[in-house]
Symmetry: C2
Subunit: 460 residues, 2 copies
Amino acid sequence: MRTYVEEKNDNIQFQVSDILIKKVVHLIKSKNDTATLDFFGEYHHADIAEILDELNLEQATYVIKLLDSELTSDVLMELDEDDREKILENLSAKEIAEEIDELDSDDAADMIAELSEKRQEDVIAHIENLEQVEVIKELLTYDDDVAGSLMAKELVSVNENWTVTRCVKEMREQAENVTRVHSIYVTDNDDRLIGRLSLKDLLMASPKAHISSVYIPKVDSVNANEDIEDVARVMQKYDLEAIPVIDDEQVLLGRITIDDIVDVIKEEAEKDYQLAAGITQDVEADDSIIELTRARLPWLFLGLIGGVGAFLIMVGFEGSFEEHAVLFFFTPLIAAMAGNVGVQSSAIIVQGLANDDVKGSINNRLIKEMMLAALNGIILAMFLFLFVWAYEKEVLKALAISVSLVVVIIVAGLIGTFVPLFLNKRGIDPAIATGPFITTSNDIFGILIYFWIAKTILGI
Amino acid sequence: MRTYVEEKNDNIQFQVSDILIKKVVHLIKSKNDTATLDFFGEYHHADIAEILDELNLEQATYVIKLLDSELTSDVLMELDEDDREKILENLSAKEIAEEIDELDSDDAADMIAELSEKRQEDVIAHIENLEQVEVIKELLTYDDDVAGSLMAKELVSVNENWTVTRCVKEMREQAENVTRVHSIYVTDNDDRLIGRLSLKDLLMASPKAHISSVYIPKVDSVNANEDIEDVARVMQKYDLEAIPVIDDEQVLLGRITIDDIVDVIKEEAEKDYQLAAGITQDVEADDSIIELTRARLPWLFLGLIGGVGAFLIMVGFEGSFEEHAVLFFFTPLIAAMAGNVGVQSSAIIVQGLANDDVKGSINNRLIKEMMLAALNGIILAMFLFLFVWAYEKEVLKALAISVSLVVVIIVAGLIGTFVPLFLNKRGIDPAIATGPFITTSNDIFGILIYFWIAKTILGI
C-alpha cells in the first residue's frame, strides 16, 4: 500500500499521466469492480477528481457510482461545476441524496444549489437526516456573496456554564462531525457567542476547571450578511484559520474556514486579472470556443468601436494636416502610450482598492498621478523629440509631437486613476475599469488631444 | 475594556480614522507613557501597524520603543518592508535582538534578512538564546522562492516510541512555543517524518495507547528545496492548513502554515496582474513617485519603441498608398485589435499555467486559439466591412481592411498563445509575456500584415 510519504518523495504534486489514464480506462472496461475499488482507494479525493477529468462521462459516472459515497462526495466537490452537473444528471435523486449526506453542510448546500428547482425538491425528499435538511434549507437562503453562503454549520461549541469534564465529553461527540476543530467557541445560555477556548489552552488546562473561568472573552466574528471579500480581508489580516459567523443578535450560526477563503482570494484576483485583460466572464483555457468567444467578444467590440472613432477623428483632421501627413503615422504610438499609461495607473488603483490600502482623497491621488505621469511623459517625450528631429529635421514638428505625448500621458494617467476611484465610490467593481475600457477611451482622447495640440503648435 | 466581540458588532474591519490618529498623536505628544500603553493595549498588532502607518517616523519609533517587544515584534512584521526598515534603523542592535527574540523563527529570519550584513552580525551577537541563533542561521541559507524560506522551526512532534502519557507531557512543553498546533508530527529515532497524530485523534485517544499504535502513517510533506508556488498549489489542492518540511533524507525540518501560503497566493496573483498591466516591480499606490516611475517606465519605453516601429512601417508604405490615404486611418484600429486579442489569449494561458490546468500539446492549443480567433475575427470583420463599405462606398477597400482584420486577429491570438507557452517551457515566468510585451509586438506585426494584405488585395 502506497503512503503519501512515499509518493511525495519524488514529486509533491500528483500528476495525471497518459499511462495512468490508460490503466484506469482498461480497469473500467474490464468491469473488475474489486480491482477498480482497490485502485482508487489509494488516491486522495482531489487526485481522483483530476483522473475523472480525463475520462468520458460514462466512465466517470461508473466510477462515482462504484466508489463509496463517503469518498465520491468529496470527489464531486473537487470537480469543475460543469463536469459535476453532467455527472449529477446521470445519478438518481436518491444517489445524490446519499452523496449530500456525506458532505459538510456548506458543500451540501452548494451542491444542492446547482440543481434545478424540481430536482432540488426530489433530492431533499430523499435525505434521511431531517436535521441536515433544515440546515441545508437555512444555508440556501444566503446570497452567493455574503458570509452565510460560505459557512458550515459543523463546529465545536461549548456552554460557559459547563465544567471542563462535561465540555470534553460533549466536544468528543461534536468533533466526530467536524473535519478540523480549529477553535472551540463558547456560548451563553441564549446561544450567543461570548468567546473561545483555544485548543492549545485546552491541552494545558486542568480537567477540573470551569469553562467560564478558562475561556477567552475575545473572539473575532462576522455577521452572516457581511460581504465575503471583507471576510477574506479580515481573516487574512488577523491570520485567522476559522471565523465564527453570527446573526444580528450575536447568536452563533456557523463558521468559515480558511480553505474556502483561499478560494475566494484566488477567484477575486483571477477575476480582476481577466477583466484587465478584457475577458468579461470567468473562463478557463479548457472551456469551449463558444464560452471563450462569449467572454472575449464584448471587449473586442468596444475596441472596434474605439478604432472606428479614431478613424473618424483622423478623417476630420485630414484637411488640416494635408501637408503634414507624417503626423498621422504617429497615431498608433500616441494611442499605445495613452492605453499603456491608463492601464498602469488603473491597475495600481484597482489593486490598492482591493487591498483596502488606498488612502487619502481622490484629489490627492490625481495630483500624485499627474506628477508621476508628467515625469514619465517628459522623459519619454525627450527621446521622441530627438528621434523626430533627427528623422524629419523639423524642430517645430518634433516639438508638436513631443508636447502632445506629455499631455496625452498626463490625461491618460488621470483618466486611469479617476475612473476606478469614481466607480468604487459609486459601489461598482473598479476592476471593470481596467483593460479595454480604459484603453479604448484613452485611444480616442489621446488621438484627439494629439491632433489638437499639433494643430495649435504648428499654427494650422 | 473593549473586547473584539464588541468592536466587531459595528464593523468587522478596524478602520483608521482621522479622529483616532489625532488622539494618538496627542497621546504621544503628551508623553504620558502609561496612557499610551493603555491605549495601544486594546488593539490587535495588525491594527497597531495600521495606526503606525499614519504616524511620522519619530512618533512610530517612540511607540515601538515604549510597547512591550512581545507586541511590537508582531507589529513590526505587519508593517511594509520600507517602514520597518526605517524604524529598525532607529533601534539599537540590542533592541532589534529583543524584538527578534519574541518572533517565530520564520519571521525572525525574515527580519534579520532585511538588515545590512554588518547589522546582521551585530544583532545576532545580541540574541541571548543560542539555539535561536542556530535556527536563524539555518533559515537564512534558503533562497526566497523555496519552501525552506517559508518554514518555521516551531512545531509539535513526537517520537513513535513514546507512550501517549509522555507524548502529552512533551507536547505541552512544545506547544508553549507554537502559536497554532495544527498537526502533531510523528518521527522515528532518526528524526525522520513517518506520519502524524491529528488533534482530533488525540482528543479521542485513550491516554494509555502507544504512539506507534495510534499515529496515521500518512502525511503530506514538502522538500525544503521545493518551489513555494508548488507548495501553495499542493496546500490549496489538498486543503492543508500546515505542511511539514523535510530534507532529502526525510528528516523533519519545520513546517509551513497556511497564513504564509495565503500571502504567496496573493502576491503571485498580484504580480501577474501587475505584469499584465505593464508594471515590472511590486509597487503599491502609496509608493513614492520615483519607485512608481521605475516600475512603469520600462514598459512605456517598449511602447515608445513599438510606436516608432509602427511609424517607420507606415513611412515605408507611404508611397504605395498615396491614393488610399484613408487606409492609414485604420492603423490605430488594427493595432488596438491586435493588442487586445493578444492580451486576452495570453492572459488565459498565463492563468491556466499558474493553476496547472493547461493540458495537451502546444499544437492543440494553437489550433484551438486559431479557430477561436478566426470566429471572433470574422464576426468583427463583418461589422467593419459594412462600416467601411457604407462610408467609403468601395467594396474592394472594405474587403481589404476586413480580411486584414481577420488575419491580424488570428496572428495576434497565435502569438498571445505561443509566447507564454514557449516561455513556460523554457522555465521563464510566462506572466512577463502578457501586457505591453504582447501588445507592442502585436501592434507592429498587425500593422505590417495589414498593409501587406491591403496592398495585395488592392493590387498596388
